[in-house]
């Protein structure tokens, strides 16, 4: 007796949504996303915006790290490039934000290709160190090119406007953030159903065999850097217009590592994983802070030390996820799906 999903054509096997249930699930999720801002508090909305922006960045990083297997520590740098270039485009050229964000993303893609050049010769940890150099170089440029970026001073970006209306409230910005996140997810899902996406996966799994099969490894590695940096830059640009203030402290090495934590906790090579990872890493500190406030009245002593242990608790939760399911939240999610698909049999 076998149970499961069986497809009889390549088209069915490669479809974006392979089962009716999947379509229903996505539909339900879309409805939830649309209804959410009408019922959420403004605090909840701002968290949702942060998650959406982080999802764009995490999917971008996942394209590079999870799908193509090129470790990058330059996430913060690429986000800074996106944020500053989009901000400057609106300030200097007076471009509307819906034009400056794609432009900034493209510019970041070009910068990403440049810093991806070492990937021709470097693999694994060596490449990670090379991208660390990207992080340092960009950070240095941002803090020292005072004439352009304002150096260590914050760059104030005018609030985004659409048809004359200001878009910087959480409720209004939500729609752009969600549009960007779902667009990124949809593009990425389709990318990995295509020839290019398969080349990325082939490079990750067996780069030499990929080369032997005729995949131009260097070109595809650079393409991966470009596509990844495009979305990372977009996430940076979104932050710039959401916060309307750009400072270099938002794009340090710590941010790079935080994003790596997102894709690893969420699950390498998974779009759902990127979303789950971004949500957890964004919500966790907020949750710890909220519970701290809740305990303030009943257990003042606990609440007092909570900020101090916040980082520790955060690290502990990340560690627990990795120990219990090394392949991340996406794997837990797929285990749940498998369980119900095969129910009542266990395999």
């Amino acid at each position: 007796m076998r149970s499961g999903n069986f497809f009889t054509s390549y088209a069915a096997d490669m479809a974006l949504f392979r089962t009716p249930l999947e379509r229903w699930r996505m539909g339900l999720f879309a409805v939830a996303v649309i209804v959410f801002p009408f019922v959420a508090t403004s605090y909840g909305l701002s968290l949702a915006n942060q998650i959406a922006i982080a999802t764009v960045g995490a999917i971008g990083l996942n394209i590079l790290v999870g799908y193509t297997g090129q470790i990058s520590l330059g996430q913060g740098a690429f986000m800074a490039v996106g944020a500053y270039s989009s901000g400057l485009a609106t300030i200097e050229w007076g471009l509307p934000f819906w034009l400056s964000i794609p432009l900034a993303s493209l510019f970041t893609a070009a910068v990403g290709v440049f810093f991806g050049l070492p990937s021709l010769r470097l693999k694994g940890l060596y490449l990670a160190i090379a991208t660390l150099a990207a992080q340092q170089i960009v950070e240095w440029i941002v803090t020292h090119w005072t004439g352009l970026t304002g150096g260590t001073e914050a760059l104030v970006v005018p609030a985004p406007r659409l048809f004359g209306a200001r878009m910087n409230t959480d409720f209004r910005f939500y729609w752009f953030a969600v549009l960007a996140a779902s667009g990124t997810a949809l593009f990425t899902a389709n990318l990995f159903r295509s020839r290019v996406g398969r080349a990325f996966l082939a490079i990750r799994d067996q780069d030499i065999a990929a080369e032997a099969s005729g995949v131009n490894v260097f070109r595809y590695k650079l393409t991966a850097f470009a596509v990844s940096s495009f979305f990372v830059g977009m996430s940076g640009a979104l932050i710039a217009h959401y916060r309307t203030i750009v400072t270099w402290e938002r794009f340090t090495l710590e941010v790079s590592i935080l994003y790596l934590a997102m894709v690893i906790v969420g699950g390498l090579g998974s779009i759902v994983g990127s979303f789950l990872g971004a949500s957890v890493i964004t919500l966790l500190p907020a949750l710890i802070a909220t519970s701290g406030r809740a305990l303030q009245t009943s257990f003042p002593a606990v609440a007092e030390i909570l900020p101090a242990v916040q980082e520790g608790v955060f690290g502990l939760v990340v560690l627990l996820v990795l120990i219990l399911e090394p392949k991340g939240l996406a794997k837990i999610w797929s285990n749940v799906k498998t369980y119900f698909r095969l129910w009542p049999f266990s395999y």
Partner: protein
């Protein structure tokens, strides 16, 4: 010495690979395990040596007993200490260590230094004992992998496809060594092999696996005479000669066992 009772192995909580496999290896025997690709031969060896865990596999049912003691679920390093050493498929030598260092790693669990004995068994290795293992040829690497296992003076040697990708002459040499090991040192061997004719030549007992179960077992002479084994593993036709591909029509024989 080793007994597997109705062993069930599941990978990743979803893939059932062994479906109630039972087999027995007596002390001093060479037992071969035959079967086509993907029937779970390697999984059987990994279940014995405890190497399933890194691949997210698990023995979910049945028992594996070594000298009457259950060993399933033990970590691999404990199993090695009990005298079971698996030579993994695809050699897996330590590429950046020299041949001698590789062998010394094999002696990790044993106190006696039988380096000379192993080098006598594989004289080729003596010639290149200071070379890095990554630079050896495939045949030498396989010898090194077996030699590394011998360094621990195992009581039971699990061999996974020792002839993989090797020239016939080297295969000959390796099988001669295995037979000598068994006869002179009394090492018990469980051998997984695709080269059925050669494996049956040196073994005392054989099992044929299909779909995660043993479908046929017996002495090599019996197995060699079995029409199914002849057809599917030895490539012989019913008349005993080599299969003729010149005949106008081929009638594919149906397997007579249940699977």
């Amino acid at each position: 010495m080793l007994r597997l009772n109705n062993v069930e192995v599941v990978y990743d909580n979803v893939v059932l690979v062994l479906r109630g496999l039972s087999l027995e290896v007596r002390r001093g025997q060479i037992v071969c395990l035959l079967g086509t690709n993907g029937t779970g031969k390697s999984t059987t060896l990994k279940a014995i040596s405890g190497l399933l865990a890194p691949e997210d596999g698990e023995v979910t049912d049945g028992s594996i007993e070594l000298e009457g003691e259950p060993i399933h679920g033990l970590p691999p390093h404990d199993v090695v200490r009990r005298g079971v050493f698996q030579v993994m498929e695809g050699r897996r030598v330590f590429e950046h260590l020299t041949v001698e260092e590789n062998l010394r790693v094999g002696a990790y669990t044993s106190t006696s230094m039988n380096l000379d004995k192993v080098l006598d068994t594989f004289p080729r290795l003596r010639d290149c004992r200071k070379k890095l293992a990554g630079f050896l040829s495939g045949g030498e690497q396989q010898m090194l992998a077996i030699g590394r296992a011998l360094m621990s003076e195992p009581e039971l040697l699990l061999l996974d496809e020792p002839s993989l990708g090797l020239a016939p002459l080297i295969v000959e040499e390796i099988f001669a060594v295995l037979r000598r090991l068994n006869e002179v040192d009394g090492t018990t061997i469980l051998l997984v092999e695709q080269n059925a004719a050669r494996a049956l030549d040196i073994s005392n007992y054989g099992y044929v696996m299909e779909n995660g179960r043993v479908v046929l077992e017996g002495k090599p002479e019996e197995l060699r005479e079995n029409a199914d084994v002849k057809e599917f593993y030895l490539g012989l036709s019913e008349l005993g000669g080599r299969k003729s591909y010149r005949a106008v029509k081929h009638y594919r024989r149906r397997k007579r066992w249940l699977s």
